[in-house]
Amino acid sequence: MSSHTGHPPRRAPRSILPWLATPALVVFVGFAVLPLVGVFALSFTTWDGIGAIHPSGLTSWRAVLTDPGLPHALWVTFLVMAVSWAVQTPLSILLGTFMAGRQRYRAVLGVVYFIPLMLSSAAIAIAYKALLDPNFGLGAGLKIQALSQDWLGRPGLAFGVVIFIVSWQFIPFHSLIYQGGVQQIPKSLYEAAQLDGAGRIRQFFSITLPQLKYTIITSSTLMVVGSLTFFDLIFVLTEGGPGDATRVLALDMYKRGFQASLMGPASAIAVILVLVGLTLALLLRRLGGRDAGASQLEGA
């Protein structure tokens, strides 16, 4: 039987395989690749979103690069990324380690943990907006001063609220990833450590954490690249405000393009957004030697 020969040559001179991939390719090129090229092209034009598109050289870029709004938006984007990473990672590892255990009630906790993941960012933002209202929200209703602040009206607080909601929504997801990672650590490592008299905390830092290295990289990649896409939440929650305290790049792009009708500069911002995303992904891949999944494919 030919199946005994192991790997028969897979060549097929006029294979239909490329045709099977064609529908996906066509849609992807049409609505992802082409727009990606288009966004570069549009950044060298002037367009109000309705009328004709006029080539205008570097005008948009000059406008964007000299606008102090850009470094600010970059800074806010970076802050959201860094702070949300720093808040989510330790908590997710802690919860993931906890959930990897096997007590019965943990499964019950799990049911509730993941509900926020199912909700749309718009729904979450709207519920929180009502909940945090300084006059009619939860804090005011309970008559607790500390909780009835103008959460979304003061820059620092609004930023904190964004980070909190992001964590509220996504920590369960990352805990789930860590739970999987922890469950793959061979138990023999812990037994050996126990024999050596290592305590719980020692075990966590010298076994669990190092063994989770790739899980940490995977989860961090998702957090960091994902943080570039917090558009819905921030848009509904604060519209970038108060002032421009939470105006991240994606929001800056939307406001310039679809509210101020300056599609040229908005496209330039979009190009910057793409470059930031690509740079981060490459950097993280370098760091880990593999990323969310690319290496699994390449290793085929």
Partner: protein
């Protein structure tokens, strides 16, 4: 009994059980920090959800006076009536049309592409396609929304549900192809070989062999994409205009703009728009969760 011996003889599932046994002793020393964090997190997650639910059942007149954490003595569905009368059934239908219309082709196309990539790895064209899809993972696709808007206008699809469907398919492809290819790769080569010996074409092999064997992965990818598209906000915001083209998240946002002061009604809208997903969650929690971590935790 030597563990190594038993392990080598047992299938994978059993190994897991075997491996876990020693942890029972370890579990006797409780993980206090983890436990505390676990319960604390439960409170943090549950309170806003609970508050949203009970408030949506309060009469607006009672809302300001009552204790926010105590459910109303006489709950009312009045808020829900207001929401439903505000055309939410239409928005629900729109969301269903867009989600189904995008997810089905997205998964079918992705599956075909993933199959081709795995089976035709020797062909440079297919490796190049794979590289292209993978790059899509690293790019925040919302950055392409301006040209997408332009293309949709030029295709005369602006303010049409098809305008939401087409880009949604494209955005779903990279991750779907990645996850599905990972699973198709696990199908033993011998099975493909024997199909070929039996004279099956690639097309038959795709549907008769690869699809049934990777059904959990297909389900997972379907759920993940459905959730993403169902909850999508930016595309409807940018690509539609008429009230009767709104999908649920956008409708929720405009409803809030309109009835902002009527907090119970706004929260009823929040609950109502999330209800379909929560019902799904109740029935298929395991699939949903594996769907969310698909391809990441492997």
């Amino acid at each position: 009994m030597s563990t190594t011996l038993t392990e080598s003889r047992r299938p994978r599932k059993a190994i897991h059980r075997e491996r876990r046994r020693p942890s029972r002793q370890a579990a006797r020393r409780r993980n206090w920090v983890g436990g505390l964090a676990g319960w604390l997190w439960l409170v943090i997650v549950a309170v806003p959800l609970y508050w949203t639910l009970i408030t949506s059942l309060k009469a607006q007149s009672r809302y300001y006076a009552s204790n926010p954490l105590v459910p109303s003595g006489d709950p009312t569905l009045e808020n829900y009536r207001l929401v439903i009368e505000s055309d939410f059934l239409r928005y629900f239908v729109n969301s269903v049309v867009v989600t189904a219309g995008a997810v089905v082709p997205a998964v079918v196309f992705s599956f075909m592409a993933a199959y081709a990539i795995v089976r035709g790895w020797r062909m440079r064209v297919l490796r190049a396609m794979n590289g292209l899809f993978l790059t899509g993972l690293a790019i925040p696709l919302q950055a392409t929304v301006i040209p997408v808007y332009l293309i949709i206008i030029r295709l005369h699809l602006y303010d049409n549900l098809l305008a939401l469907i087409l880009p949604s398919i494209a955005f779903a492809i990279p991750l779907s192809v990645l996850v599905l290819a990972n699973f198709i790769r696990d199908v033993p080569n011998e099975l493909f070989d024997s199909m070929r010996v039996d004279g099956a074409t690639e097309w038959t092999t795709l549907w008769r062999l690869a699809a049934p064997l990777t059904r959990p992965a297909i389900l997972t990818v379907t759920i993940f994409n459905a959730l993403t598209i169902w909850n999508g906000f930016l595309l409807p915001l940018v690509l539609t205009q008429s009230p009767d083209r709104r999908t649920l998240p956008l409708a929720l946002w405009t409803f809030q703009g309109q009835y902002g002061v009527n907090v119970p009604a706004v929260l009823a809208a929040v609950v109502l728009t999330t209800l379909p997903v929560l019902i799904l969650y109740a029935f298929g929690r395991r699939q949903l969760l594996s769907g969310l971590t698909a391809g990441f935790s492997r």
